[in-house]
Amino acid sequence: MMLSFNEEMKIIDEKTIQLDRELSELDQIVLKFVKILQKHVRYVLVSGYVAILFGRSRGTEDVDFIIEKLSKDKFFKLYHELLENGFWSISVDDPQELFALLSEEKLAVRFAEKGKVFPNMEVKFVRDALDTWALKERIKIIIKNGDLFTSQIEMQIAYKKFILKSPKDLEDARHLQKLFNVNEDKINKYKLILEQYGRI
């Protein structure tokens, strides 16, 4: 899949990477959130946080998650466990409304530590075949105090380079591409996948 970028980072197998980074406050909040989230649903982290996890020198105010679709009952259980563990919804208070935003309006909803707005965890249900692919092909990142699942690095690079294309996203792509020594041919293969899924 990819090459190790220094002697410490270990590629355990095709879908597992061990990273011995010191945890930032952002990592700790993400891990706290994920420990609850993963009890209820399969998730994948995408976009800016993936670049930051792998060393990109920038901050972010939100962390993007794609999750499997949940029934209303299961979503309520997740919602209540988040509340019991010090998170709150900053989108709307009513869980019925929150579920409608996710499932009917297909919007993302945001959670943050109670009393705060930033950083927030932006969560959305899978919307299309590409989101489903990202969930199915997710990779495990083993860090101190837990594991995180992210989208494939090559897909993150292609997505940022060919779809998002903002200066920030292009810089994230440059960082990841150089860090993991991913060549242009490989990125172009992922560009084809994006084309097949109708994103380009």
Binding site: R21, S57, R58, I90, K116, R174, H175
Partner: protein, 72 residues
């Protein structure tokens, strides 16, 4: 020396181009640094930035945030 020349040449570009080139140069420099230093070392440095940005982020109320979202 080669890196230094690369940086100097960036100042001959327009301000916007020069800024972009310098940003790209720093990304490459930082990745090279990461590749030659331990995860603990580079992440300690990165965390100074991330943690300070989180601390300095304006703490909005939920209501302010929701109002902002509605206006986007």
């Amino acid at each position: 020396m080669e890196e230094s020349n690369k940086m100097t040449s960036h100042f001959k570009l327009s301000s916007k181009e020069s800024n972009q080139k310098q940003r790209e140069w720093f990304i490459d420099y930082w990745v090279d640094y990461m590749k030659t230093h331990s995860d603990a070392e580079w992440s300690r440095q990165q965390n100074v930035l991330i943690n300070s940005l989180l601390k300095s982020a304006k703490q909005w109320s939920r209501e302010e945030f929701r109002e902002l979202q509605q206006n986007i």
